[in-house]
Every structure is written in structure tokens, then in C-alpha cells.
Amino acid sequence: MHTRWLMPGILLCVFVLSLIIHRFELLDSYLQLIVMYIGINIILTLSLNLINGYMGEFSVGHAGFMAVGAYIASFLTVKVIPAHLAAWLFPVAVIAGGMGAALVGLVVALPSFKTRGDYLAIVTLAFVMIVKSVIENIDALGGPRGFLGMEKLATLPWVFFWVILSLWIIRNLVYSNFGRGVLSIREDEVAGDLMSVNTRQVKVLAFTVSSFFAGIAGALFAHLLQFINPRSFDIIKSTDILIMVYLGGIGSIAGSILGATVYTVLLEILRPLGIWRMVLIPLILVLLMLFRPKGIMGLREFPWFVPLRDRLAGRLPRNKRGSS
């Protein structure tokens, strides 16, 4: 029985700890910043993993959805919500950013999944470019100069809260009936159809959910950096998220956490190398793909990220069974 409360207990302790750290500034602000970057990257990696890892489609659109979330949330906290309420209504702004991104995600998903095939990569690539040039041409959002004036509302406790929420929702999602539908698309889409899975509906819904979390991450990102411009959300940003997904491992929550953490830390550690960093990191990636093509945790899972009822039924993490 005690195992049921172990995980929530630990999470609560860590949350309180993050509050204390934040309140009394116990941690060097640079380190805090890195930890929060890791958190935001975990959300991004998780949400892209849902599409590219669990569903087996290929999207490169996450920078675009991030931008939508970032700009909506920033516009709300700077221009709409009165300054003295901004700190209190920050969650509302974040959710609004997520919702806005989800809505845009739905609009992208509907035509993209009308037919089977590999159009999604092209559509999402175009989407990232469109978002960037649309923002560049809206003066109210600062155009190419960028948008600023946000308070530093994304604090350690908030980032922690959103990371845990995203983890919890996505874990429950992939182990649900809906989640099995998502997996069936990756495994064999026609067979999924023939097993009564409404694959088109599943694809559209999964993409919308994924966009929602990208929007959330964007909103947090904007309120951490306190400055955004269209160039922060170009295709390079999408590539970063792709790297974290494939580094950590497709179709794995533990892999998403690992990928986001390792990549973020690696970028920081290698910072003194300057431009050589961008030579070394691709090299590491090439080596990884040669020796571990599915990423560090590819298609495997850490037992903690398997819902309790599956663990209690004696089920091991999905892909630790069998002999393959």
C-alpha cells in the first residue's frame, strides 16, 4: 500500500524544496536557470516524443507551436493582465498559450492526416517558416525586433509543477486505450484500422495534445528569458528538440527526461569550446546513431513511468519483456 504514496510523497517534497530554494535563493541563479531549461526541454521532448516516438510520425513543427504559446502567454501577461495580477494569473496565461498552440496544432493536423503518408514533415517544416514570418510582420508583437516586458514569472517551483503535470498526463495517455491506438499507428496503421482503431482521429488528437504541451513550454520559456523574438523559434529550435528525442530514445518517457537533461547539460559544459561545440555535438550524435540507433532508452521504460495498476498486475515496463 505504501508504494502508492511513495511517488506523490517524493514529488511533494521536491516541490517544497524547489519553493524553499526559490524563496531563499539557495541555489546559484545560473544553476537555477539551467535546471529550468532542463525542465522546459523535458516538456518539449515529451510532447514531440508522443508524435515522433510513440506514434511513429515525423513532425518538425515544435518550434512553431512553442512560438504560438510563447507569444500568446507573453502578450497576455504584458498587455492584457494588469501588472499587479500578473504573478497570480501566470498559470492562466500559460494554459492560454497551450490552448492557442493546441488550436493551431488542430488546424495543421486536420489536412495533414487526411491521407496516409509522409506529408507531415513537409507540412510542419512549412508551418515553422510561416509562424516565423507571420510574427515578423505583426507590429503589435514587436515584429522582427522581438517582444519584451515580461516579468520573470517562470520560477523553479512553477517549472517543476508543469514538468510533473506534463509527465503525469503523457504517461497516463500512453498507457490508456487511446495510447494503445497511438502505438498501433506506429506499429502498423492498416492493422490498427482493422482492429477498429479510428486512426485518423487518434492522429489528430495526439498532434493537438502534443502542440498543447509545446505551447506550455513556449510560455514558460518566454517568461524565463523575458525576451522572445521570431528567430528563437526557427527550424534550429525544432532540430534541438528532435535531437533530444532521438538522443534519449523514442517511445520512452524516461528517455525524454534523459535526452533533455543530457543535451541541455552537454550544451552548457561545452560552452567554453565556442564554435567547436557545434562540431563536437553533431559528432557525438553521429556516434550515438551508429552505436545506439534507438537512443539511450529507445522503446524501453523505467518502471516508475509505468502506471501502478500495470506494475501491480505483475507487468514489467512495456519493452523489457520478451527476448528481442
Binding site: 494503445r180 502505438l183 506506429r186 492498416v190 492493422a191 490498427g192 505483475g314 512495456r318 519483456r321
Partner: protein, 238 residues
């Protein structure tokens, strides 16, 4: 003839891939409670016919199921209306467990209690699957995968089951087992439409059979009758 118990009627079905007609103006029907088999060599159009009925390939002509036209009805809804599928090449989800494979077939079902009963029925029919329920589908042997494919189809609790070459790649002993199971399933009231290259096995269990050659039906009749037919013997039974 009594038309009331026709469950599937196929009229003037044509399936074309570009300029090549895989199925050319084929008409047949399946009645409630029957085992109907489509036999023929590779490329005769058997699988294309089945794929058209399942709703996963475009076609011209008319396919009715339970008196209703299936045109424009997506595949997942056709299944949900009671047409279980054992797809070509089994269609096992290799990275999912046996249990998850079975659960997927209940994707649209809301009746939890009967679902639980159906798991027991499948495990009673294939005890092997119960032992392997937490194993990945891809790690099963060919015979076990075929059991899983049939078991999975049973999980949708359908009045009709479509099987696409269940004997493919199996040892003769396993083929006999699978065909025995198919007759068992039929005996509990499920109508069967079976596509097979193994004409001998298929004809020996079929109530009626159609022989396809290059997209056309060239012969039809009762299963036992065709088993003795000179032309069938020469072409398919050796």
C-alpha cells in the same frame, strides 16, 4: 434462393491498381453461418477482394454488409459493426505485448464485463497465449502469432470474421490446428470468409467456395464438390 440471411453481398466488384485490374467484375455472397472461401493462386485477386470488403482499398462496384452499402464507411467502423479481421501477414503489433494486442481489438467496446469474458474465451481456446500474455508480439513463433491474430479477431465479438491466408508460413501440423479452430469458431455462430492459397485445407472445411483466377471467378460450388472437381484438382491440389 433465400435472400434473407445474406450477410455479405459483393456485386460487380472491381479493384484496380493503376491500369491493372486485380479484381475484375466479381460477384458473390456470404450467408449467415457459412464458411465461404476464396481460393486461387498468387495474384488471383483474393486479398484485394478482402481488402475492398474491409474498407482499406478503393474499389468500384457494390459491397453490402447486413443489407447496408459499405461505400464510404471507414475501415474502423466496418470492424466495429461486427466484421472481425485477421489481416494479411497477421498484422501483429510486434512491439506491443500479447495482452496489448488483444486489448487493441476492443478499442471501441464499452462493455467491460463481456470483454473480460471474451479474454477468458480466447485464453481457453489458446492456452499458449495466456502463458505469453506479457511477452512482446514480435517474439512469438509463427504459430503463436497466428493464434494471436485469430484471438484478437475474436476479441471484437463479431458475427463475422474475415481471414486472409491464416495458413501462410505455418508448418502443416499448425495449419491443421488453425483450420480446426476456424471450424470451432464457426460452430459458435460466427460466419467466416476465408481467403486461402492452401486450397485443400480451405475446401475441406468450407460450406461454399469460389475459385479466382486473374481477378475473375472461374468456378464456384460447395466445398466438398470442388474438392473433387477435375479442374481444381489439376490446378491447385496436384
Amino acid at each position: 434462393m433465400d435472400n434473407n440471411n445474406i450477410i455479405i453481398s459483393v456485386e460487380n466488384l472491381t479493384v484496380a491498381y493503376g491500369n491493372i485490374k486485380a479484381v475484375d467484375d466479381v460477384s458473390f455472397e456470404v450467408r449467415e453461418g457459412e464458411i465461404v472461401t476464396l481460393i486461387g493462386a498468387n495474384g488471383a485477386g483474393k486479398s484485394s477482394t478482402l481488402r475492398a470488403i474491409s474498407g482499406v482499398t478503393p474499389y468500384s462496384g457494390r459491397i453490402c454488409y447486413g443489407g447496408r452499402d459499405l461505400r464510404n464507411i471507414p475501415a474502423h467502423q466496418i470492424v466495429a459493426r461486427g466484421m472481425a479481421q485477421v489481416p494479411e501477414g497477421r498484422g501483429i503489433f510486434g512491439n506491443l505485448t500479447v495482452m496489448e494486442n488483444l486489448k487493441l481489438a476492443t478499442w471501441q467496446r464499452k462493455d467491460r464485463e463481456t470483454v473480460a469474458k471474451d479474454y477468458r474465451r480466447v485464453f481457453a481456446l489458446f492456452p499458449q497465449l495466456e502463458k505469453r500474455q506479457d511477452q512482446l508480439g514480435g517474439t512469438l513463433s509463427g504459430g503463436e502469432q497466428q493464434m494471436l491474430a485469430v484471438g484478437r479477431a475474436l476479441m471484437s465479438r463479431s458475427r463475422m470474421m474475415l481471414l486472409d491466408e491464416p495458413s501462410m508460413g505455418l508448418a502443416p501440423v499448425l495449419v491443421r490446428d488453425i483450420f480446426h479452430t476456424i471450424t470451432e469458431i464457426n460452430r459458435t455462430g460466427t460466419t467466416i470468409l476465408l481467403v486461402e492459397q492452401n486450397a485443400h485445407m480451405a475446401l475441406s472445411i468450407a460450406s461454399r467456395a469460389y475459385v479466382l483466377e486473374t481477378g475473375k471467378i472461374i468456378l464456384s460450388g460447395a466445398g466438398k464438390e470442388l474438392l473433387d472437381n477435375q479442374r481444381v484438382r489439376e490446378a491447385y491440389l496436384g
